[in-house]
């Protein structure tokens, strides 16, 4: 039976070290299986967060060989096993223990985004009508499982620690889902420009690269929002044109 070595970060509150564990591997195993096996057979006190093992709860986020990934969706046969597989906690959030980080900052950010504000109902019975094509555009954003891998990889948070000025790709996706929602009447452009820090994103697309739900974060959420911010704040000619055009946006 084949074995592979896993170099796992062990420690508490930012401190700690890598420790190597070798374990038997079988066909179809994912990284989370190997971590569980190591926990069961070699080190019962290894902390790891997980829940669904199906890529849907977003709990098992970690950095595997330096890239943010879901442990339950990373198959061992996709990794070079001749060398140790490194598994680390996400860097962008405060470390709690071993592979577990405190992602609660994200929930606090979400509370600050203006909620869905529907227009008056279309029909007397209090219901609305939406064309499928209009719903399609925001549908993609609703796939998000809040794994926060995109937040982890984004250099504005990861390297520059601008957690106070930038809401990160996950919440730009969330804001885009609300802003582009045809029933919504809320206006988040001022917030996007100032306190959400959309101008801090330099469209380097790392978030898009790591999203396990394949949401086209940069192209379909962030850039369209940037363009809407340009409409309002940086495009005097466009503004003039719209003032005199028969229909507003």
């Amino acid at each position: 039976m084949a074995t592979a070595t896993f170099r796992i970060w062990r420690g508490e509150k930012g401190g700690g070290e890598f420790r190597d564990y070798s374990t038997e591997i079988t066909d179809g195993m994912v990284v989370l299986d190997a971590v569980h096996q190591i926990q069961a057979e070699q080190t019962g006190d290894l902390s790891v967060r997980w829940n669904c093992k199906a890529g849907k709860c977003g709990s098992c986020s970690a950095e595997i060989n330096g890239m943010p990934k879901l442990m339950c969706m990373t198959r061992l046969n996709s990794l070079p096993l001749q060398q140790p597989v490194t598994i680390e906690p996400m860097k962008t959030f405060p470390h709690i223990r071993d592979l577990v980080t405190d992602v609660s900052w994200n929930f606090r950010v979400k509370e600050r985004i203006a909620k869905f504000k529907p227009r008056r109902p279309d029909a007397p019975d209090g219901t609305w009508r939406t064309a499928q094509v209009d719903a399609d555009r925001v549908q993609e954003f609703r796939k998000c499982i809040e794994c926060f891998l995109c937040q982890d990889v984004c250099h504005v948070l990861r390297d520059h620690h601008m957690h106070e000025e930038f809401i990160g790709p996950r919440f730009l996706v969330y804001t885009a889902a609300l802003e582009m929602q045809p029933l919504d009447e809320g206006d988040r452009l001022q917030d996007l420009k100032s306190q959400f820090g959309i101008g801090l994103c330099n469209i380097t697309k790392c978030c898009t690269k790591v999203c396990p739900e394949n949401i086209t974060i940069t192209d379909n959420a962030i850039i369209p929002l940037k363009e809407r911010v340009v409409d309002r704040y940086y495009d005097p000619l466009g503004k003039l044109f719209r003032m005199f055009s028969p229909r507003g946006t």
């Binding site: 930012g14 060989n65 330096g66 890239m67 943010p68 070079p80 490194t86 860097k91 962008t92 959030f93 405060p94 405190d102 900052w105 606090r108 950010v109 509370e111 600050r112 064309a131 499928q132 094509v133 209009d134 555009r137 990889v153 250099h155 504005v156 990861r158 390297d159 520059h160 620690h161 601008m162 957690h163 106070e164 809401i167 582009m180 929602q181 045809p182 306190q195 820090g197 101008g199 801090l200 994103c201 330099n202 469209i203 380097t204 697309k205 690269k209 940069t218 192209d219 850039i223 369209p224 940037k226 363009e227 809407r228 340009v230 409409d231 940086y234 495009d235 000619l237 466009g238 946006t249």
Partner: protein, 259 residues
């Protein structure tokens, strides 16, 4: 804004746990863009060999001043310094379009400014301004360059049309194909622009009930998905088109007439 309670660890420049060749892509972008900048600067400084018969190099189109037979405003004005070439008068427009393009921005921030060098790789500088303040806030001008790029596209299409006529007779040479390919690739690039995508459809939450708008939005979105590919293909082809015309004009290559 919500705070994080525990201090986070900062990476050193180049620090990463990645085991793959993460540096290959930024190095390739750096070399590709540098090669183009060097070639286009050299070509723009030449001021000659940009026309060969029916062919006009896209780096010198539109020809504002120059050859009195073809140039829009006739011969070069006497008050213009001798070193000013036709390319210098116009290249700022397509240049500005590319420099402010969302794709190129992301690519050169990584390759030329290491911000970040690659995903999850530590950065050289601690301070970061992003596109929120001066100077990069100027990138928001992109849509204005897009309007100019659309106009230039019409002019280049006209040049490709002219390249079908050899002394008043219809014909096709290799140069014709080169210039037509140039227009096709540049169109695929320009019509896939994020700002255009916004203008034709992204600006509204509802595009149902506006079939033309929806069609336009779908077309632009389709090209937009391959924006990076067309950015590179069109960049390479513009340089090659100039080289082709230049080499023919210098007599190094001879243009082959297909019919």
């Amino acid at each position: 804004m919500a705070q994080v309670d525990v201090p986070l660890v900062r990476s050193r420049f180049g620090e990463t746990s990645r085991a793959d060749h993460w540096w290959v892509q930024p190095v390739a972008v750096f070399l590709g863009l540098s090669a183009f900048i060097v070639y286009s600067t050299w070509a723009a400084l030449q001021g000659q060999h940009y026309r060969f018969g029916a062919y006009l190099s896209p780096m010198y189109s539109p020809e504002l001043f120059g050859d009195p037979l073809h140039a829009w405003f006739g011969a070069k004005a006497s008050w213009m310094p001798a070193w000013v070439t036709g390319a210098m008068l116009i290249l700022w427009a397509p240049g500005g379009f590319r420099v402010t393009c969302y794709y190129y921005r992301g690519a050169y921030y990584k390759a030329f400014w290491a911000d970040p060098p690659s995903c999850t790789v530590g950065e050289p500088r601690k301070t970061y301004l992003g596109e929120r303040s001066f100077p990069l806030i100027i990138q928001n001008i992109h849509r204005y360059f897009m309007y100019l790029a659309l106009a230039i596209l019409v002019i280049l299409a006209r040049d490709a049309w002219d390249a079908l006529w050899f002394d008043g007779h219809f014909g096709i040479g290799v140069g014709t194909l080169v210039l037509v390919t140039n227009v096709v690739l540049l169109s695929c690039y320009t019509f896939g622009c994020h700002s255009l995508r916004h203008l034709v459809g992204g600006i509204r939450d509802r595009i149902s009930g506006a079939p033309v708008r929806k069609q336009a939005y779908d077309c632009v979105s389709c090209l937009n998905r391959r924006h990076m590919l067309f950015a590179w293909c069109s960049l390479f082809w513009v340089a090659f088109s100039d080289l082709y015309v230049r080499m023919c004009s210098m007599g190094v290559w001879s243009d082959w007439r297909i019919f």
